[in-house]
Symmetry: C2
Subunit: 342 residues, 2 copies
Amino acid sequence: MGITIKDIATIAGVSTSTVSLVMSGKGYVSNKTRQKVQNVIDEYNYRPLLAARQLANNRTGNLGFIISDVHLARSEAFYSRVLHGAELEARNYDTSLILSSVAMDLAIPGNIPRFLKGRDVDGVIVAGSVPDELIRYLKNENIPLVLIDYRVPNLKIDTVFMDNRSGLSLVINHLVSQKIKKIAFIGGSNRHPSIKERFEGYQIAMEHAGLGHISRDEKYRYFIESETNMEVGIEGISEVLKNVPDIEAVVCVNDTTAAGCIQQLRKLKKRIPKDIAVVGFDNNNYASMTHPPLTSVQVPKIELGVEAIRLLISRIENPQQIHQTRIIPVDLIIRESSLKSI
Amino acid sequence: MGITIKDIATIAGVSTSTVSLVMSGKGYVSNKTRQKVQNVIDEYNYRPLLAARQLANNRTGNLGFIISDVHLARSEAFYSRVLHGAELEARNYDTSLILSSVAMDLAIPGNIPRFLKGRDVDGVIVAGSVPDELIRYLKNENIPLVLIDYRVPNLKIDTVFMDNRSGLSLVINHLVSQKIKKIAFIGGSNRHPSIKERFEGYQIAMEHAGLGHISRDEKYRYFIESETNMEVGIEGISEVLKNVPDIEAVVCVNDTTAAGCIQQLRKLKKRIPKDIAVVGFDNNNYASMTHPPLTSVQVPKIELGVEAIRLLISRIENPQQIHQTRIIPVDLIIRESSLKSI
DNA sequence: CTGAAAGCGCTTACAG
DNA sequence: CTGAAAGCGCTTACAG
C-alpha cells in the first residue's frame, strides 16, 4: 500500500541510496541519474513516508503548540490568531503543527500532551499562561521551547511578547493630547506578565506626562486578582467612580474588560466619550462592535505566532544560542470611545 | 538518546517482544513477567517512540484538521471552538491533532497539507467550506474523512451538521408568539449548505405559522452571493426596509450579519426591538455584547468537533460502514433584541 | 508463555 | 558518482 523508495529505485534502475540522495539534494549525483530518478518520482508522485523518515532522521518535523483550555475557550479570537500565524509560518519550514490544549491543573508528567510522551515533536510553542510546572518540565527535558506572551520567573526561555509598555504610552499620549488628565486604569491578575507590563507602561506614561506617580494601591487604579473578563470591567469602573467621581478616562487592561466597562457606564447613563473616554488593549474582534466603537491597542496576533515559529526553528537548529525575547510592536487604533471632540 | 524498548528488555531480563506485549496488552504474558516488566517501565518512565511505532504499525495515531484560512482568520471564534472540541476528543482516543489551514485557491495536489503528502495522518476532518477539489482529492485518495458544516454535491461523505432547520423554527415560533408577522430574512451565499438550510427552515416555519410561502426572490428576503459579513447585514436591512417599510422583525443568517443589521438600524434611528426585532444564528462570542444584546440560535461548537472525531474514528476502524450525517441539536437564546415586551 | 528474527520505509556512513 | 548494508525503534507472525 503506497509507493516506496524501493519501488522508485527499481523503476529508475538505481539503488534506494541514490533516490534518497536525489530527494534530499545532498551528496553527488550525476545530472543524468538525477534527471532519470526525478522523472520517475514526478511520474509516480512519490512522497517519502514521514514516519519512516522521522525514525531514520531522529527528527519529526513536527512542532507542538500548547495552549491552556481556558485560553482556547475564551471568547476573543486572540490565541486562535496566534495559532493561525504559527501554522502559516510552520509551513514555510516544512513542518507540521500539532495542537494540544492543557488544563490548568494537569498532572505532570501523567497528563502531558501525547506528542511529548511519544517524543513526537522537535520543539514546542506555549501560547499564553499554562501551569508553570509544565514549563519547568519542558525546560528540564531539554525540549526546544518558545513562550508567547508568558514568562516564568527565573527561567531563561526564548519568548515573544507584544510591546505592552509602548502600547500604554500611545494610549496615555492620545488621551493627554486631548487635555484629559484624570485617567484610571482597570486591570487583572498581576501574575500575568503582560498585565503587569501594561500597568507599568501606564505608570511610566502618566509620570512622563507630568500626571504624577500612580502607585499600585492608588484610587485611580482598580486591580483584581482574577482572569480578566467583563465583570472585572463592570466592577472596576464602579469602584473607580466611587473613589474619583470626576474621572475623565479609563484605560482597561484589555478589550474584554473595556467591554464590561462600557456596558456598566451605559447603565449608569454616562456618555462615552463625552463624560468618560474608554480605551482597551488587544484590538480584538469586537472592538469595533461595542457602542461606541472602542479605541484599542492593536496587537499583531498573527505576527506573534510567526515570530515564535522563527525563534523556535532557530533554537532547534542552534541549541546553544543565547536565549532571547522578541518584542512585537503595537499600534493605537483610535475609535469613537476616546475621541472627546466628537 | 532516549530510552528504548531494548533497554527496558535488557534491564527486565526479557526480550523486546515481551516488553511490547506488556505495553500493548495483547497476547499472553505471565503475571509474574508482566509485573516485572511493568515495574521497569514505570521506574524508567519509558514511553515508546511514536515514530517507530507508526512505522511498524502502519498507523500514525494522528488526525488532520483542515480549515480554510478565511475561516480561521474570521473574527468569530466559531471554528476555533470546533477545533477545541476536536482536540479534546482526539485525546480520548490517544490521538494527536495536526492542524492545517488551506487557501481557498490552493493548488492540488501541489499545495496540500504536509501531513497528506507524507501520509502522516490516519484520517482527516474538514471544518467549514474548503475548495471542493480538495475534498474530492481526499475522497479519491481514500483517506477517512469527516466534514463539519459543509457538503459537496453528489459526494457521499460522513458529515456533522448543526440543526439549522430546527433553529429557524425556534426563531420563527418565538417571534410569532409575540404576534410578529412581517419577518424578513437576510442571508449569504447559497453555496454554503448551512445558509441554504437556514433559509429553507425559515420558509418552512413561515408557512407552518400560516404566514405564506416566501420564495427566494420575495421582497422579504435579502440574499447576497458573498461571504457573510457585517456589510451583508448593513446592505440587507437597508434593502428590506426599502421594500417593506413596516417590517417587524429580521432574522439574520448568522450573528455577524445581525451585528451589521443592528448597527445600521441604530444609524437609521430604529428602535430594537420596539420597531424591529433582530435575531441572529450561531450565538457567537459577541452576541451578548451588541446593543441591545442579540437573540441567537446557540450552536454547540465544541460538540461539533467532538462528534466529528467520533465519527472519524469509527470510520477509520470500520472503513466499510455506511456514510452518515449527524445532526447536533440547537437552542434558542432569547435576549433583548427580540423581546417586544421590554 | 517467551524469544529470535524479519519487517515497516527511510537515511547515511562506507567501499568501490 | 553509485550501491550494499546497517541502523533508526518499534511490532508481529512464527517456533519452541
